[in-house]
Structures are given as C-alpha cells and as structure tokens.
Symmetry: C2
Subunit: 324 residues, 2 copies
Amino acid sequence: MSVNDFAGEHALVTGGAGFLGAHLVRELLARGSKVTVWDNLHTGREKNLAAIRTKISFSEKDIRTVEAKSVAEKFSVIFNLACPASPPHYQKDPVYTWETSVLGIRNMLQLAELQGARLLHASTSEIYGDPHVHPQGESYWGNVNTVGVRSCYDEGKRAAETLCADYTRFKGVDARLFRIFNTYGEFMHPDDGRVISNFCVAAAKGTPVPIYGDGSQTRSFCYASDLIAGILALARLPRERYDGPINLGNPGEFTIRELVTVLERITGKKLSTQNHPLPLDDPKMRRPIIERAERILGWQPKVQLEEGLRRTYDYFAAEIGSLA
Amino acid sequence: MSVNDFAGEHALVTGGAGFLGAHLVRELLARGSKVTVWDNLHTGREKNLAAIRTKISFSEKDIRTVEAKSVAEKFSVIFNLACPASPPHYQKDPVYTWETSVLGIRNMLQLAELQGARLLHASTSEIYGDPHVHPQGESYWGNVNTVGVRSCYDEGKRAAETLCADYTRFKGVDARLFRIFNTYGEFMHPDDGRVISNFCVAAAKGTPVPIYGDGSQTRSFCYASDLIAGILALARLPRERYDGPINLGNPGEFTIRELVTVLERITGKKLSTQNHPLPLDDPKMRRPIIERAERILGWQPKVQLEEGLRRTYDYFAAEIGSLA
C-alpha cells in the first residue's frame, strides 16, 4: 500500500478520541490525509490524541445534534466511529447510546449527502447478537433481543446499517459498512470492561483476573492496526466494487481461559482468577468469516495474538503506572 | 368491559387518520375518552375521520419533528400508530419510514415523559422478520435483514421497541409495546398493497386476483375490532402487570389460496387469479402465539375470517364504487 494514498483527502473522524479513532487518526495522518476529529469526550479521551494534537483539527462535538448545513468545513471522506462500544459504557446510559447510533448516523448521512463525501460507518459484530450460526458471514441476519440490556447498542447499530443502505439505494450516497469484531490495542479505555482490558489491567495491578461464566466462551481478537488497515482499504475501494457490509476481524478463536495462558506467558506471572456470573444476553461465541474482506479488499489480519497482547499489556501497564 | 372505561382520559392518537387509527379513535370516543389526532396524511386519509370530525381535535402533524416541550395540550395516554405499514407504502420512501419510526418514537417518549402520560406503541410482527420458529411467541428474537428492502420498517420498528424498553427501565416512562400481526377491515387504503386489500379491490373491480409466489405461504388475519379491543385492554392494564411486548393477532392460519376460496364464497363469484413473483425477503409464514395476551389481558379475537372479510369486502366495494 502506498504511504501517501490519502494525500489530498480531508477526513472527518467522529469518535476520533476513542480507542479505534486514535489509531485511525494516526494512520490517516501517516498516509497524507488532512484530519478533523469530532468527539464529545463521552468515552473518548483527549490524552489519546495529545501526541498528535497539533496535526489535527479537533472539536468537542456531539453527532446527535450536528446539523449538516451548519458545518463549515468540507470533507471528502467521513469515518463515523462515534458511539460507546463496550457493554459497561453503552449500558450506562442506553438512551444516549441509542441516540448516538441512530441520530448520529442520520446526521452523518445528511452531511455526506450535502458534501458529496463518502461515508465509512463502523458497524459491529453485535448486530449478529447471540448467533445461531458459527462462524458468522455477512449474509447471516443475526439473533438480537429487541428489548434486552444490550439492545440499545445492538439495535441502534442495526438501525444505522439500515439507514446507510437506504441512503445508498435512494439518495445516491456512497455509504460503506464494516462490521467490527472484537478488537484490542493501545488507547483502550482502562475501564473499557471487556476481557482484554479487564485482564491486562488486573495483571498489571496484580489483582485477580475476572472470568465471567466458566471461561469456555470464545472470542476472536483483532489487533487495532489490522483493523485500521481493513477500514482504510474499504475507504480506498472503487465505489462500484462495494456491494454490502464487510466483516473485519480476526478469525483466530480463543477461549477466555486460553487468553489467561497467553497473558501468563507475556507477563511471566502466574495469574489468579476470580469467577463471576455471565452477564445477561452475553454471546456465547462470535467469530468472523472474512472471505469477503479477503476477496474484495485483499485484506487479512497479520498480528498474532501474543504479539498484539504484549504491546497492549505494555500500554495498560504504563497507564496503570501513570495513575498510581 | 364497561362502556365508559376511558371517561376522563385525554388520548392522543398519532396516525389516527390511518386504517387502525380510524378504528381506534372511534372506539376511544365510544368509551368516553377525549381524543386528539395527529396525522401528517402521508398514508392516512381525512375521509377516514370525516364522520367523527366534529368530535375530535385534529392536527396535521409529523411526529418526526414534534417537540415535546412545545406541545400545548395535555394527554393522559398516547397511542403511537403513525407509520406507513404496508410494504408498497413503507418502501416508497424508506428514509421517511425509518425516520417516522425512529425519530417519531423518540419524540413521543419525550412527550410521555414530560407529561407523565402512558404510551402505547404499535410494534409489529415484522420485527420477527422471516421467522425460523413457527408460530411466534414474544420471546422469539426474530430473523431480520438489516440492509434489505423491508429493513426501513422492520429495523425501524425494532429500534423503536428498544428505545421504549430503555425509557421504561431508565426514565420511568410507562411505555407498553404491542406487536400487531396482519390486520384487516374497513378504512384500509385501497392501495395498501397487502393481500386482503389487493384481493377485495380486484374482486370488486372484476380484475384477476394477484397471487405472489405459489400462494402456499400462510398469513394470519385479525379483524380490526378485535385488534383494537386488545390495544385498549393493554391500555387499561394496571402498570405493574405489564412485563414486555404483547402479540396481538389472530392465530387462525390460512394460505393465500384458501383466502381466495373464502372470498369466492362471499362474493358468489369465481375469481380469476394472476401469478406474480414473490417479493424480496417476503416472510413465508407468520402466526402469533397469543397465550400472553390471553393470560395478561384476558383477550382473544372473536371475529371469524368469513365474517370480517364480508364487512371488509363491502367497504372496499363501496370505495371502488365511489371512485368509479
């Protein structure tokens, strides 16, 4: 991939101060794009952008209330990443989460339409819910509870996909959907609450690693740089080659217990564990079929779990140290 | 049921000029309620309310843009029925449909919260999509395509259920969901496009009855007065007894071909049929389990298909006659 393949572009990244946003913004800069970040700092953190703060334009904006026609800047591409994404975060204020997903995508689609920008929308493997088929390809329609505790996120994201598809079909907007499976890496929120951050934080603090359920449930883990490479490949794809949502994730599947073992190798410590009940509607398994991304984008994840987890653990250890 | 059980109530009916709205408004009046109707007449028709126009307050309002705090009237109960509901209507402008469902419910929930009114929200069997289990109980999570041609309605309605549930859990709003299965009766739009109106209109005009697919797909058909009785029973239910969405529909299951036979009995005519391809993502079967409505509401449909269809056919025949 050429280093300057985003030269001449002006990218808007909503949620740019969040975990994935912080990675995406850096990679866009590295590839020559001008970058504007909108983030209301609900879960995003300014410190994630501190090192590159002078190279970007940043506004503390809430996409629930942005009016397309009052936006002064002109963008060629919009990456819509704004939304709390971890269960503890998105369940704290479900109405806010739903609104960010649903009102947010509407405002961003209106902006994309008005400005003729292409829109890359962060959807999620959560739209598959607790899947009845395994692994999950893009043609699977999902198994989601409409009125459960995870629904604000899952259904909000489903409805956002729908509006993107209809803006493409009926209003000619170039809106592209990618479905993010579990991703990890530097810039994750220490209170993210998902397994990798829970484990790294506990290991760094020397407290017991929390295991929900019996630890036999599986997850796939994609390292952030791999995911960003996939998103940017989708953003560079000629428009006529896009034909629907694309899974982005790492098909490598690990049980929660296996993750403990890898982390023990990395830290060189025997980790104690503590059992907790499985949260409500927690998916038992989730693994992407990525044949479509391989075929259309020529994309595959490259970073092995042990390597990515080592980098991530170092990041969390430093974060914990700075708070101590 | 006492005749005046809505005396002292001020009901807002959104979509009150539509098919079900026209029935609901009449029944509310009959039971002693004061009634306000909001309808933007997108698919609703003023003629549906002409006979009772002097007994209600009517405003041409769009729930997508109503601001709760600028509403002058004070309501004790809100029935949110506004949304195009037949596939040809809701697929004509999918963005409008999605917005009516999604922005509409948000505005109505804000209004219910502000006014302390209870909210009765019209959800739909469409949230079950093309179901993998048959018949469908309320605990079934559905099988819906997020990016298909029906998604604007299906996913819009799913996301609306979610917001209702979260307003109940997190904001203390008394929001109650009912899922409407196929319903028919007087005041249906002649261009509704669903099977009963298609069949009655064709039979009245003497044109061939359109059969989509091979006609072996099944539907359940609930007569409007039965459905309204269920909605009003839910509205009268003591709050603490509501514990989630309730199916309202008639479990009697008929193939499309059987419907032709009943209509032939009613009209005393041999009807010619014309075959068409099955529309995209058309559900192969749909039938409600109504055990919950029976148990919680003491409700059951009473009107047999032949009786309801006779009344409906007479209505359509008069409609066609008045247009001729």
